[in-house]
Structure formats: C-alpha cells, structure tokens
C-alpha cells in the first residue's frame, strides 16, 4: 500500500487528510449510523420485493454515501484542533517510561553486586531434620 502511495504525484502525496480526535469520533459515529440504517432499509426493501440484489444495492449506496461524508477532511471534522503542547508533554512522558523500562527491567550486573548468601546445600542434615520430625 505504501508503495502504491509513493507512486502518486508529489502534489497529491502532500495533501493532508488528518482530522482532530473529536472529528474522528464523530466520523466513526456517522458512518456506523449511516451504514446500519442502509442495511436495515435494504433488508426491508429486499424482503418486500423478494430480491436480494435490491438489499445489497441499498447497502452499497449507504457505503458510498458514508465515503462521501467521512473520507474527505471536511472542516466540520477539524473544529477541535489538537493541542500540540499537551501532545509533546505526553510524548516526553512516554519516552521517560520506556527509558525506565530499559534501565530497571533487565537484570543488569549492577543489580547483582550483593548476591544473596543461601545456606550451603548438603544432603544429610536436611534429611535428618525431616526424619526427626516424622518420629515425633
């Protein structure tokens, strides 16, 4: 897909189609409603005419209508512009999280400089203790 896009002329590639977050939410709601509505209308019309093709054509029309409404970045979808400074703060916080993960998650040798002194492992004493407990 990226390869196909790179084949478009430069002037077309530069066109920005972003929407701000509120616009994206609205766009999603709009196409969901439009397509489900056309699905229901198509089903009813198809059932009445007893032709499945009518149902599918009406749904297809709903799809094209949704494309027309929500694919282009109409100004309506850009009315709540993203606050870039707040975004930068979020990115810096995220970077700090990743850096911390890198530093403290892996067991670097620095964190193993005071090894825990486990008791020496010998067979006889442990077994004797268990046997004494059982005899009691």
């Amino acid at each position: 897909m990226d390869g196909l896009l790179n084949m478009l002329p430069e002037s077309v590639q530069k066109i920005s189609s972003y929407m701000d977050f509120n616009g994206q939410k609205n766009a999603e709601r709009i196409f969901q409603v439009l397509i489900v509505l056309h699905g229901i209308i198509g089903f009813v019309a198809g059932f009445i005419t007893q032709q499945l093709s009518i149902a599918v054509y009406i749904l297809g029309f709903g799809f094209l209508l949704s494309c027309l409404v929500i694919l282009p970045p109409w100004p309506y979808f850009r009315s709540n512009p993203i606050k870039v400074r707040a975004l930068i703060a979020v990115y810096i916080l995220g970077f700090g999280f990743l850096l911390s993960c890198l530093v403290i998650l892996p067991p670097w040798p620095y964190f193993r400089s005071n090894p825990i002194k486990w008791h020496p492992v010998t067979g006889a004493p442990a077994v004797e203790k268990v046997e004494k407990k059982k005899k009691k």
């Binding site: 005419t49 149902a55 799809f63």
Partner: protein
C-alpha cells in the same frame, strides 16, 4: 481514523460486517420454509430387457424403459433466497437382492426467473434404468417420485420431495430386440 486510508479501511470493513449480518437475516427469513409443491406423475409403456451390463459386472441385469409425464409448478418454492432448483425424478423400489434401490431417471435445473412450470409428456428417461440383478421383472411396486434440491443464496440446501407419486408395474416377460 487519522488519515483518509485508515478511514476508508474502517468504512469498508464495517460495510462487510453489516452485509454479513444482513445475509444471515435473509437466511433466517427462509430457513423454516417447507419448499414443497404438488406434482402429477404418469407413466406408460413399461418394458424390461435382460441384457449384460458391460459397465458393471457383465452379468445379465434388467434394463427397463418407460415413458413418463411430469406436471409441476414450482413457483411457490422460489423466494429471494433461492438461486435455482435442481429437480430429479427417482424410481424407488425393492428387490430380493437389495432392499432399497433408487435410480435417477430424469433431472432439470430451473434458475430463478426461468419458467417454473414443468410439463414433460411421454418422455424417455435421460439415464439408463439398470437394475442390480433381475429385480424389475414383474415388479409391480416401482414408485416414481420427484425431488428437488433448493440452492439458496445464503444458508443450507434443503432436499424435499414433491407431494404426489406414481407406481409403475413392470410386465412379467422380457422383451427382446430394441426398445
């Protein structure tokens, strides 16, 4: 949803999901139909020969011939979820060698939109009416029934038998020579 491509992807995928749901709903509207229609079957001129069946075991088997009439109107079976019907005429009978024999004598495909009236008169079978053995001689309980397979647009394929059948009686003497 931040670029035109992601929005296009979202709209298209959602449309396909709604299409799947709509197709399933369409299937539900016809899933409980009985798909039966009445048929009138007649026959005449039933004859039997006893000749070697070279495509089977080369023993002498019964080969039957008859003329049949079929009159049926399948238009009540068609609905928005039917693509076509596959009709076939079956001769069912039992012999001492095999308790159940089913031989297809004739079939037809009717697409939705074709004429749904079938009026076949004095037709010969499309396919050879061989018996496995010699059970057709003097057999007076050979039943001709018409069945069809409903090919839907969505869902499973019901197999139903039309209401109405016809019994053929075969003579007790073989004929020789050509039918």
């Amino acid at each position: 949803m931040h670029s035109i491509w992601t929005r296009a992807n979202a709209v298209f995928a959602f449309t396909l999901s709604v299409l799947a749901a709509m197709t399933f709903a369409a299937f539900l509207t016809t899933a409980f139909n009985d798909n039966i229609a009445p048929v009138v079957i007649k026959s005449s001129n039933a004859q039997v020969k006893n000749v070697p069946n070279y495509s089977a075991n080369r023993a002498k088997n019964d080969l039957a011939s008859l003329n049949f009439d079929i009159q049926v109107d399948v238009s009540p079976v068609f609905n928005w979820n039917v693509k076509q019907l596959f009709l076939y005429l079956v001769a069912e009978y039992s012999t001492p060698l095999n308790p159940l024999n089913q031989v297809v004598l004739w079939d037809k495909i009717i697409l939705r939109g074709d004429s749904p009236v079938v009026d076949v008169s004095s037709a010969n079978p499309k396919y050879y009416f061989w018996d496995d053995g010699n059970g057709l001689l003097g057999n007076d309980n050979v039943t001709l029934v018409l069945r069809w397979n409903v090919i839907p647009n969505a869902g499973y394929l019901p197999l139903v038998q039309a209401s109405g059948s016809h019994t053929v009686r075969f003579p007790s003497n073989y004929i020789t020579g050509k039918f």
